[in-house]
């Protein structure tokens, strides 16, 4: 952030900059008074930073990419935890592409296709996926508490953490996309039609839970990959990031 000690205002240009700093700080104060949690704080910081135009887009992308990293790690851990204690009935079949509720979204299938997608489209895809998982995550969260699984408390806490990360990442990407043009603003709606109830008997519940987690893992990997490709594309001047 710029220092306040620029008191040598020799010209009107410098004075304007100082006025801008003051606005940023008043915003800071009002936001702080509301008492925000960690995720909100991140988003607020990103927002303010974007407002003040002190943090470059590269940094914002870097932070978003780190958050999507975290999300993907969490979803991987979730599936592993589910599998470790999965009842020895049999393993569920790999979800077929049509089964995931986000399969309607056209995403690149391999590296060449992914590298050819424009930045705005990549951002739009990531945001659509994130938006599409808000409802299913809520369903997972409510069902995790009563999951017939020995590690349900751990699973439940991880899902809650996932929800927070997802929310904060979505807000951050909203800010980023506002800089990238109208194509980035477009979001495809991916409705979740699975309902709040996962099933009646234990096996069905577990299978559905597992299935949702697999879909989540795939989609979090997609989001992560898109953001990483975006980051490396934007960081042409800083090759050490990629």
């Amino acid at each position: 952030m710029q220092q306040k000690s620029e008191k040598k205002a020799t010209g009107p240009r410098r004075r304007r900059r100082r006025n801008r700093l003051r606005t940023c700080r008043t915003d800071e104060r009002t936001m702080a008074q509301r008492g925000i949690s960690g995720g909100k704080l991140f988003i607020t910081a990103v927002y303010l930073v974007a407002m003040c135009r002190a943090v470059p887009v590269n940094d914002l992308l870097d932070r978003a990419s780190q958050r999507s990293d975290k999300m993907h790690s969490l979803s991987t851990l979730l599936t592993q935890e589910m599998d470790s204690h999965f009842p020895p009935y049999g393993r569920m079949q790999m979800p077929r592409p049509a089964d995931c509720h986000t399969s309607g979204l056209l995403t690149p299938n391999d590296k060449e296709q992914a590298l050819q997608v424009s930045e705005s489209d990549l951002m739009s895809l990531a945001r659509s996926l994130l938006r599409g998982w808000v409802d299913p995550l809520a369903v997972l969260s409510t069902n995790a508490i009563t999951l017939p699984h020995p590690a349900k408390s751990s699973i439940s806490s991880k899902i809650q953490e996932l929800q927070e990360h997802s929310k904060s990442l979505a807000d951050g990407l909203d800010i980023l996309s506002s800089k990238m043009g109208p194509a980035a603003q477009a979001i495809s709606i991916l409705p979740y039609t699975g309902g709040t109830d996962l099933g009646q008997d234990r096996v069905t519940i577990l299978n559905k839970f597992n299935f949702l987690l697999s879909c989540l893992r795939r989609d979090s990997h997609k989001i992560d990959s898109f953001l990483k490709v975006l980051r490396c594309r934007a960081a042409k001047l800083q090759p050490e990031l990629c």
Partner: protein, 540 residues
């Protein structure tokens, strides 16, 4: 539907075969011996086929691996069916919704059976898609028998190649005699496309001492460098690094080991020996100093207590009780002992004896003792200096004696009258020069003119001759008219003998020893000193 029904089939055997295939896959594909714990090598989803009759040595998939998330290979093994070792005895068919030319009923065969090995199928970029589900089957040549079937997605298969270019550098300024720090650096594997961000890698660097069993982890980092701290010199270290995809499941292979060795530089300057020699040298110097300056040191540390010392007297004389010698030394006049003047232990107190004598006469002419002043035992003279700061301050003396002087004014005239009757130029012995230790007096000659009243101090007449004199001299007779003092004086010395005349014409009077009426008869001792054996007889 047939497949879904099989979901709930008790697949205990399928479990074991799945885990077995996992183990085989581990050994073949990765060469890793470490236990992965709860982590699965790859997601093992498959539908148990007719398993009851199936033995574990049936041809099965050993695993599929992708190095760069753009291609992958699948491997299988013929198991115990050795008659199927020919290529094309076992065929792989796969299905993927996204790939062209695929349908449920017509599965594609492996796009490329690798030439190096008969049991490997390579899927190149054209046949590889990500985020889609693959299902592969292992069938016999005539496609009649289905040996094995697995499902997977590409992102789950990623095991990157080992990083290359592992190198180490010494951290600046970290090399001490026994330890050093090193910085490891490497490059990401060439096959992984890190520049475009398609794959993000996480590195695991490990090190151990050469010969140790366990590997220590140096760090799980996302950068291509890592620091090692606290390595010992003269020890051979082995380092290696591997990587995995971020949030991926499994690590790739380890790189080749690199050895770190820094020899211990023996300093040419043996510090310990130097320290020891320095200490010994210091000790030697100290001893020398102590021995050479022993007396001075002893004097400083243990100052000698001055013993009883009387100047001019050998202590041995006292011990030998040679009292005659002692007495001769002690009774000698002090002015015959010039060594006393140089002795720092002897302090001379200058007495203005003329003053005190004059004062005495002014108060009561002819009185040798001043009744109003000091005690009878104080002796003939009055020591006005005792207790005062310095004897060189005549003001003190003059202040004390201010009052009596005025009283004595008249008496002086009287006294001087006696002397004046004799003649104008008569010599008067009115001044006591000195009082000896034995009581002998030294009268000094003074002229009449000196008797000036206004001049105080030394110019006062004083005659202190006992009335009880037997020697006939006119002056003495005159002065004999001072009887009244005598009666008051307790045991005043009687001066009747003139021992001699000094160079300066001063008379030396010695007192006659008065008999001591009180007390027991003491045998005549030299000048009244008691020896210890006599003391016993004296004390009651």
């Amino acid at each position: 539907t047939a497949r879904t029904n099989r979901l709930f089939h008790d697949s205990g055997g399928a479990n074991s075969s799945c885990s077995e295939s996992e183990r085989d896959f581990q050994e073949n594909a990765a060469g890793q011996r470490e236990a992965l714990g709860a982590h699965r090598h790859f997601v093992c989803y498959f539908i148990s086929s007719v398993v009851d009759n199936r033995s574990s040595m049936q041809p099965h998939f050993t695993g599929c691996v992708s190095r760069n998330m753009e291609t992958f290979v699948c491997r299988w093994s013929a198991g115990s069916f050795q008659n199927l070792s020919e290529p094309k005895d076992l065929r792989l068919f796969y299905f993927n919704r996204v790939l062209p030319g695929a349908s449920e009923n017509n599965w594609n065969e492996c796009p490329h059976y690798s030439a190096e090995r008969p049991d490997e199928c390579f899927f190149n970029e054209d046949h590889t898609t990500i985020w889609t589900s693959y299902t592969v089957q292992l069938r016999s040549r005539d496609r009649a028998v289905l040996y094995d079937e697995i499902s997977f997605s590409l992102e789950d298969l990623v095991q990157p190649d080992p990083p290359f270019g592992l190198n180490w550098t010494l951290l600046n300024g970290s090399l001490t005699g026994s330890h050093f720090n090193a910085m490891l650096s490497w490059r990401p594997p060439a096959t992984a496309d890190v520049e475009t961000g398609w794959i993000s890698l996480e590195y695991d660097a490990q090190y151990r001492q050469a010969g140790a069993e366990r590997w220590e982890q140096a760090g799980l980092v996302r950068t291509t460098s890592c620091s090692l701290f606290g390595l010992q010199t003269n020890v051979n270290y082995e380092v290696r690094v591997r990587c995995k995809m971020l949030a991926g499941k499994d690590f790739g292979d380890f790189s080749d080991s690199v050895f770190i060795h820094i020899p211990f530089k023996v300093s040419r300057f043996p510090v310990m020996a130097l320290l020891i020699f320095g200490a010994l040298f210091l000790v030697a110097v100290l001893l020398l100093v102590i021995i050479s300056q022993q007396e001075k040191l002893m004097f400083i540390l243990l100052p000698p207590v001055p013993g009883p010392k009387i100047q001019g007297i050998d202590r041995n004389l006292l011990k030998a009780r040679k009292l005659r010698e002692l007495a001769s030394i002690l009774t000698g006049p002090p002015d015959l002992r010039p060594e006393l003047y140089n002795d720092p232990w002897v302090e001379f107190i200058d007495l203005d004896i003329e003053e005190s004598n004059d004062k005495l006469l002014d108060v009561d002419t002819g009185c040798l003792m001043d009744r109003s002043l000091s005690s009878p035992h104080s002796g003939v003279f009055r020591d006005d200096d005792s207790g005062r700061s310095s004897c060189c301050e005549p003001d003190l003396l003059s202040e004390a004696s201010a009052l009596p002087v005025h009283q004595e004014a008249t008496t002086v005239e009287q006294s001087s009258a006696f002397v004046a009757a004799e003649g104008q130029e008569a010599a008067a012995y009115t001044q006591v020069g000195e009082v000896g230790l034995s009581g002998s007096l030294l009268l000094e000659k003074t002229t009449i003119k000196e008797t000036n009243m206004e001049e105080k101090g030394k110019k006062q007449d004083g005659v202190l001759v006992n009335a009880d004199q037997r020697d006939g001299s006119s002056e003495m007779k005159r002065l004999a008219e001072l009887p009244e003092c005598v009666a008051q004086l307790p045991a005043a010395p009687v001066y009747t003998v003139v021992e001699g005349v000094d160079i300066q014409n001063s008379l030396l009077l010695t007192p006659t020893p008065t008999p001591n009426p009180t007390g027991p008869k003491i045998p005549a001792m030299p000048d009244g000193y008691l020896t210890p054996d006599l003391l016993e007889s004296v004390t009651p």
